[in-house]
């Protein structure tokens, strides 16, 4: 469950990216976040796993108050929220296997469990046969699947994705989308910022549209709603 009330975010350079946001997202929902470039989508997403702190307002993730949370608790929060980026952010010198295992080593999972869990999630994103590859040896779509595998490895209740298909061709984008739907089907909340009109209009979900740091539209089974 994600709960935001009166959230403002002004960056140190004076740019106000979020201008009074109220929203509520239930466990298990799949939400698209749409809007023009610079609207504040990424900032909205970053607040949820505390990459950024709100300037004003309150954010609760499963009753944890992110605004007043101590620095020291941040790692704990991030282990409960999986993140996927447009640029994948894989550790370049580690293999696919090691990248995914890292998320489990961080929570000090038992080595034997790590092995089976890593193979399970790699299976889920259909990359079991590339476990020994390093990120540079993979296509963009494959790298994104590794980053999804890493994000879900420790079974987070929430998965947030910032334009996960932004760097991918349409066909690969659909692959990623299907994987995200499968993850959502297991009860994980998914929050996905996207510019992919075709996906939003085809796989109908809740749509939150942000413009100038404010929510201008919030509808279930909504449309993308922009021309480009």
């Amino acid at each position: 469950m994600i709960e935001m009330q009166g959230v403002y975010k002004t960056y140190p350079n004076g740019v106000t990216a979020l201008n009074g946001l109220d929203t509520h997202i239930d466990q298990g929902e799949f939400v698209y976040v749409v809007g023009p470039s610079g609207a504040g989508k990424s900032t909205f997403i970053k607040l949820i796993f505390r990459e950024e702190k709100p300037s004003k307002g309150s954010i609760f993730i499963n009753d944890i108050d992110l605004a007043s949370m101590k620095e020291k608790r941040i790692p704990k929060l991030r282990r409960k929220v999986g993140v996927v980026y447009q640029d994948f952010r894989l550790l370049p010198r580690m293999t696919v296997y090691e990248n995914v295992a890292f998320a489990l080593e961080v929570i000090e999972e038992h080595p034997a469990n790590i092995r089976t869990r890593v193979m399970d999630v790699l299976d889920q994103v259909r990359l079991k046969n590339k476990a020994r590859f390093i990120p540079d040896e993979l296509s963009g779509g494959e790298q994104q699947r590794v980053s999804i595998a890493r994000a879900i490895a420790n079974r987070p209740r929430i998965l947030i994705a910032d334009e996960p298909t932004g760097n991918l061709d349409p066909e690969t984008s659909w692959e990623i989308m299907h994987i995200l739907e499968e993850i959502n089907a297991t009860g994980t909340t998914i929050l996905m910022a996207t510019h992919n009109r075709e996906i939003v209009n085809t796989v109908k979900k809740r749509v939150i549209a942000i413009e100038d740091g404010m929510i201008v539209r919030d509808e279930n089974r909504g449309d993308y709603g922009y021309e480009i």
Partner: protein
Amino acid sequence: MKFRTTGRHVKEGSKSVFRNGWMTVSAIGATTTTLLLVGVFLAVMLNLNEFASSIEEDIEVRVFIENTANEQQVDQLGEKMESIDNVASVEYSSKEEELEGLVDSLGDQGQAFELFEQTNPLNDVYIIDPTRPTAADSIASEVNNLNHVYEVDYGEEIVQRIFTFNDYARTIGLALIIGLVFTAIFLISNTVRITILARKKEIGIMKLVGATNSFIRWPFFIEGMLLGLLGSVIPIAALAGGYYYLYYYLRDSINFDFVQLLPFNPFIWQLSALILAIGVFIGIWGSVMSVRKFLKV
């Protein structure tokens, strides 16, 4: 931290040592050079220290008695000296005993002095053993004020010079060692930092996945420890070899009667342990220091 995670950190730390080839070589080079110098200083200092304290222990105050003093006066003098502060014992030695001791100590050349047996030019002496070496000076001046004392001698010149020299050597040696250690820490942290710039992005990603600072720091800790360990191999081998040579070969060819080197066996182990500890300290500190500012992501 759970114990099983230790294995993971050790693995990651050792991987870094191999992965950052030239950085590892230069960090180890800096440690090796430092530890070699530190080791030589330490060996010299510890030997000097030992030498000085052995001399301190040998200090005695020799009181030469006027030849004109009669038996009763000599006895009185002895009693007075026993009551002086810090005097542990007073021992009488007649001029005949003194001459015998002198002849013995000079070996063959000493036979020339046997001629003096009839007209012995020496004095009867009292030999005072002070409770602590530094009291020799005050004892000597008090004894000087007593009657029938011809002269007091405790080798003040040499003793003072050795004390002063040893003090200087200790201070300078320590300053050099500390200076060297910090230079090495600086060098290591700089070399590690160069590779960290490449790892900065990685550290950022690790934090996004939920790694704590200490989780990120541990492999660097291990890496630093390994660099320190590897850096102390050559210095320890060189010092052990050098000291062995000095102790067993040079000692036999040159007659070190005056200078007693610390015995090879326990000393070289103690020195090696010390070098190893300093090496590991340098490595860990240098390495951990260099990650510090990258953890604020």
